[in-house]
């Protein structure tokens, strides 16, 4: 479907077993799916719709409404730059530009080798440490453009680069 390859449904079955088969579980299921697959594959969404007894159109609607979800495969490491107010006035833009320059992609895009995806986040709640960059699970407070290369190099994907 959608030109995407079929994915392994085993993680999905395990996820669906954790929740009641109803609409109320939809967002939690999608989050677990996203964590397991790094995006929302379309044939997984079809199965979710079936099992939770929610129309496919509604599943798709929810999948595209919330920022946590991506319908295209994402990189192994997500680089999140916080664009909350405190981070904005303390130079989040410069951080984004530097990351875009180093990875040669724009915010929202993924590197060709699927190593990194750049995303902006509307506030991670570490405002006193503005500006904040989260590389994978690692938070970097008081982040500086000059140190971005180091933050990226500390990840697996960075080593491969």
């Amino acid at each position: 479907m959608n030109g995407q390859p079929c994915v392994n449904t085993a993680p999905l079955d395990e996820i669906l077993a954790r929740y009641p088969a109803s609409e109320t579980a939809l967002i939690q299921v999608l989050q677990d799916v996203h964590r397991a697959y790094h995006y929302l594959p379309c044939d997984v969404l079809v199965k979710v719709a079936e099992v939770l007894d929610v129309p496919l159109a509604k599943v798709f609607s929810v999948g595209t409404f919330y920022k946590a979800f991506s319908l295209v495969p994402q990189g192994r490491t997500i680089v999140r730059v916080c664009t909350g107010t405190a981070c904005h006035i303390r130079g989040a833009n410069r951080l984004i530009e530097e990351i875009e320059r180093l990875l040669k992609i724009k915010s929202g895009e993924t590197t060709e080798d699927m190593g990194f995806t750049i995303k902006t986040v509307n506030c991670v709640g570490a405002c006193a440490m503005a500006p904040v960059v989260i590389v994978g699970e690692q938070y970097h407070g008081s982040a500086q453009p000059a140190k971005v290369a180091k933050y990226l190099a500390e990840t697996e994907a960075g080593h491969e680069n």
Partner: protein
């Protein structure tokens, strides 16, 4: 955790049933004024119902009597107040605000008109080529938008009527996708929607006629899906799709064969049956 999950889809309802549901079957009447004129409606009716009952016109886009009110277009905004509010007014959407005893409604106060103008101006920027939007805007003195015109004009005003009627029928084949200014009506994955039954309700309810479709005896196309038609065994007219027949049969517990005959021929058959019965007496 038990939360109560609402039932999927809904049944079609007739006017009286809908009115009864909205008014809770209540017989109490309420009296209110609209632009100074008195209106009397059943408790549970909306301000818009009351206005229509006395012939006061309030513009709407996303409202339709077959569907629950939605409150998205904001064109039907009115000012309401009550004596006990000491002059304080609030702007509400008349399609949803309940008609209450003693309510005083202004459908064209200065700020209501000003707000409607902003809404129409914004819609005209989004849909500069849609005749309905153009004419509504013109009524309020707007010939061209004061904002940036949509570089990719669309006729879709995002009133949600198409998706709402699809939900109401119980199919939910299409939905609104994305959020904010990027919101659009689309089938899942922007591909032919697997749940669509080709009933054309969405196209017919669309106020700006922006859902394209083709239909003939040979077949029907909408949302990128192609449907085969069912021919009436009596007159040969292709009147519904196969998928519609299957869907209706599934909802009502009535065999699919019932739906093969078109409505006109069904009526003729029914008339024949009654005639036969009375003759038999």
């Amino acid at each position: 955790m038990s939360g109560v999950a609402p039932a999927r889809g809904g049944r079609g309802r007739d006017d009286r049933e809908r009115a009864a549901i909205r008014t809770g079957g209540k017989e109490t009447m309420v009296t209110l004024t609209i632009d100074g004129r008195v209106a009397k409606v059943r408790e549970g009716a909306t301000v818009l119902d009351a206005a229509r009952a006395i012939g006061v016109r309030i513009p709407t886009l996303c409202q339709h009597e077959a569907l629950e009110p939605w409150g998205g277009c904001r064109l039907c905004l009115v000012d309401v107040t009550k004596k006990e509010w000491s002059g304080w007014e609030k702007m509400v959407v008349s399609c949803m605000f309940p008609a209450e005893e003693g309510l005083a409604v202004s459908t064209a106060s200065e700020r209501v008109v000003a707000t409607r103008k902003v809404v129409l101006d914004l819609l005209l920027a989004r849909c500069p080529e849609a005749p309905l939007v153009q004419s509504l805007a013109r009524e309020y003195g707007i010939e061209r938008t004061s904002y940036q015109e949509n570089p990719e004009p669309t006729d879709c005003v995002l009133c949600g009527l198409c998706t709402r009627v699809c939900d109401q029928i119980g199919v939910s084949a299409i939905s609104t996708v994305n959020r904010g200014a990027g919101k659009e009506v689309a089938p899942p994955f922007h591909e032919a929607p697997p749940d669509c039954i080709g009933c054309l309700a969405c196209a017919e309810i669309c106020p700006t006629d922006c859902i394209p479709y083709e239909t003939s005896d040979l077949g029907r196309t909408i949302w990128g899906r192609r449907f085969e038609m069912v021919r009436c065994p009596h007159c040969g007219r292709a009147h519904i799709t196969k998928e519609q027949a299957t869907f209706y049969a599934g909802r009502g517990g009535v065999p699919e064969s019932y739906f093969l005959a078109c409505d006109a021929c069904k009526r003729k058959q029914m008339a024949k049956t009654f005639t036969t019965l009375s003759l038999a007496k």
